[in-house]
Amino acid sequence: MAGTIAPVVYRDITSRKLNWMMSAFYYTLGSIVGGGLTGLLVAYVGRFALFGLDYLRSIAPFFVGLSAILYALHEMGILSMPHFQRKKQVPSHWRYRFHPYVTAGLYGLMLGAGFMTFIPTTSYIILVLAASFSGSLITGLLILSVFGAARALPLWISGFAVKTIEGWDNITSYVHITKPIMRQINGLGLAMIGVGVMLVA
């Protein structure tokens, strides 16, 4: 995040806070819209392509829950599962081509959609599965809109906490070195959701 978005948003953070906040706002908006559109798309596909067969609807919670547990094992390095992702960063040249607000919005759109860039943790795959198997466009929209909003959240926290460019570098370093811990936390969350979804259904 910091490495990608910081160039858009930090350059004026010390002297022009309002400009930074506007960039962060457009980034957040783009991220929510990108997530929401993705949620609508996968829910639409799930609803109209997969649910011609009613029995799929009845096994959907079990399938999503089991997948979550398998991906929990993947996140914890115990089992290897397919990790679908487009291994691309957001285009850096957009920073020079577009106005900073437009760039921030477009970056948000791409990162909020999730599948258009790197996907660092596989919990996103479970979200897509859940949205597509939900059978509801609103539920799909909600799930991935929340993902998009949450994706922008650390930007606001770090944006208000960090005052210098060196501070951004430190955050980038922290993000890098805490990756193993973040994967463990994702694994724990996936295991929890997996069991919960299977038992609640």
Partner: protein, 56 residues
């Protein structure tokens, strides 16, 4: 230039397995508490979104 120079190792297997069981138990407790599937998935969406910033 960053002044952070320490590194974190990947946790040991027993440690990772203990986290896995903690998650499984938490999921069981969540089901006992009556939390709905959609609420659990939304919780995962928040976790996934935040951790999405730990990108390459």
């Amino acid at each position: 230039m960053s002044n952070i120079e320490f590194t974190l190792k990947i946790p040991s297997l027993p440690y990772r397995i203990s986290w896995l069981f903690a998650g499984l138990i938490a999921g069981y407790l969540a089901s006992l508490a009556g939390i709905q599937s959609v609420q659990l998935i939304l919780l995962l969406a928040i976790l996934s979104g935040i951790s999405g910033n730990w990108s390459s």
